[in-house]
């Protein structure tokens, strides 16, 4: 007689689906002389997401980003990026991240292909992508031989994205990427940023454009006077702080057209209104909804619009 005892694994079937943090910042602070640039900033950025640090100019976005990149000394707190200490392991980190700076320039007379060629020579050859393919992907193939000074604002930004991507970095930093660009160029750049994520890199960006954050970011942190005042997905933040919805519609009545305005909260509100109108059998001429945006969240949290 043999007794066979089979023990089923208790936790064996459990698979952790939580993505790994690529950037961990705890209680970060930084002063310039007596001016406090950032105070007690804590945040996590997870693998494969587009994370946006949003806030008005001077809120501490760039300083935070530069501390994370290791190009700025911190006054307190801890930072881990890709498992590295950005100051101590600066060179090792620079090989694995891609960077785009706000309002950066290149040598006026450098040609597009030369810039890519130079950047490609600075990284591990195995990781470097074919620069012609990269130019193609960023819509710069026709500008290969153009000098930097002859590029448009949008083309310059696309070149900086190309330089940030030349070594297939695990983490890409984009600082105020679309500032100064026209709406069309901006939309084209958003597509490129989504493409970076689709290819497996994590994106950390800063912007003072709420529309950009809303359209592009998986998660955002709102920073104001050097402090992170709120964090979450754009939808979460809107639901948490500005849950109110408004529906405007007009119906044909005996006396002519009649306008209606309804206010309510929650995701089901608009659906409920539509059901009610359908039940009433009213003849609807116009229908419009107003859903709050991140801009409204910012206004509610700070008491001022972001452009102030």
């Amino acid at each position: 007689m043999t007794a066979v005892s089979v023990q089923s694994g208790t936790d064996a079937g459990y698979i952790c689906t939580m993505p790994l943090p690529v950037v961990t910042v705890r209680a970060l602070s930084k002063r310039y002389g007596r001016t406090v640039a950032i105070a007690d900033v804590s945040l996590d950025v997870y693998e494969g997401e587009i994370f946006g640090l949003i806030g008005p100019n001077g809120a501490g976005k760039t300083t935070t980003m530069e501390c994370i990149q290791g190009s700025r000394r911190t006054d307190g707190g801890s930072i881990t990026v890709l498992g590295l200490d950005p100051r101590r392991d600066a060179t090792a980190l620079r090989r694995r991240i891609g960077v785009q700076h706000q309002e950066a320039q290149l040598q006026k007379r450098i040609k597009v292909w030369e810039a890519l060629d130079l950047w490609a020579s600075l990284y591990d050859r195995q990781r470097v992508v074919d620069s012609d393919l990269l130019l193609e992907r960023l819509g710069l193939a026709a500008k290969r031989d153009a000098r930097f000074m002859n590029l448009s604002g949008g083309q310059k930004q696309r070149l900086f994205i190309a330089l940030a991507l030349v070594h297939q970095p695990e983490l890409v930093f984009l600082d105020e990427l679309t500032t100064g660009l026209d709406p069309q160029a901006r939309r084209a750049i958003w597509e490129l940023v989504r493409d970076i994520r689709a290819r497996g890199s994590t994106v950390f960006l800063t912007t003072h454009l709420m529309e950009e954050a809303e359209r592009l970011c998986d998660r955002v942190a709102i920073i104001e006077h050097g402090r992170v005042i709120e964090m979450g997905t754009p939808l979460e933040l809107v639901a948490r702080h500005c849950p109110q919805r408004r529906v405007f519609y007009s119906t044909d009545e005996e006396g002519g057209e009649r306008l209606h305005e309804l206010r309510g909260e929650g995701d089901d509100f608009v659906t409920d209104v539509i059901h009610r109108i359908a039940q009433d059998g009213a003849r609807v001429r116009g229908f419009r909804t107003e859903v709050p945006t991140l801009e409204d969240v910012f206004l509610k949290l700070t008491g001022h619009a972001i452009r102030d």
Partner: protein
């Protein structure tokens, strides 16, 4: 990182050549000055055996010094412009070492100084036969050693100034001072004591001493003290710059 250094140097060389005014000002003009002054002296009706003897200073050494100072002015201006445009900051965000980022510019300046000196020596052999030094190579090496030390002072200037406009003004002003005190025009020994101290603290003065000696055919061993002074100034300037150089 040698590959990155060489690639950056090569690109910077091409970029420099794309700016015609820079090339004319720092390379072509000094050589033209040398050739024309040399020719004018040679073709003078009285005729002289050694045209150099007619001038109170050596036009070849003055030309070499102008080329060298042109390189320094250009370096200071480039550093300030690159800093203002965020180019230095962007390069700093790559794995390229800071020494390579700045060293590339030293290489470029030395390369163009070398070319200008070769053109000057060759032109001199044609225009002023017999008046040129026996060993053009030694003279060029002396100029390059002097230029390296003067370039290090350029990094001190680049560390001190913020704006590109001010950098160019300061570069020009210091160039005139260095030129006047270098001993090319007046003998340093005739300066008042305090001015001698100032002159000896400047790399140009020792560079001129070295060029003059090598021009006259002095063996290198006799110039160890002068080269030591140039090396000391280089060390102090680089030490200062590595502490105070601003990348943005």
């Amino acid at each position: 990182m040698l590959k990155g250094l060489l690639k950056l140097s090569w690109i910077e060389m091409k970029i420099f050549l794309r700016e015609p005014m820079g090339v004319v000002g720092s390379l072509v003009l000094p050589v033209l000055l040398f050739v024309f002054v040399g020719r004018a002296l040679r073709l003078s009706p009285r005729g002289v055996e050694n045209p150099m003897a007619r001038l109170p200073f050596n036009i070849a050494i003055l030309t070499a010094l102008l080329i060298s100072l042109g390189a320094v002015q250009s370096l200071v201006a480039i550093m300030a412009i690159y800093r203002e445009g965020g180019i230095l900051k962007r390069l700093r965000a790559t794995p390229l070492s800071p020494v390579a980022i700045l060293g590339a510019h030293v290489l470029v300046k030395l390369a163009f100084t070398l070319v200008a000196m070769m053109v000057m020596i060759l032109a001199g052999r044609r225009v002023l036969p017999g008046a040129m030094p026996v060993s053009g190579t030694s003279f060029i090496v002396a100029v390059l050693i002097g230029t390296t030390s003067i370039l290090s002072l350029g990094f001190v200037m680049a560390s001190l100034v913020r704006s590109a406009r001010f950098a160019q003004a300061l570069g020009a002003a210091l160039t005139y001072v260095m030129l006047a005190l270098s001993g090319v025009f007046f003998s340093v020994e005739r300066f008042p004591r305090w001015l001698q101290v100032v002159a000896n603290a400047l790399p140009t003065t020792h560079a001129v001493t070295l060029m003059r000696a090598i021009w006259a055919g002095a063996p290198w061993v006799t110039q160890l003290l002068t080269m030591g002074a140039l090396a000391l100034i280089f060390g102090v300037c680089i030490g200062f710059s590595s502490r105070w150089f601003r990348w943005e």
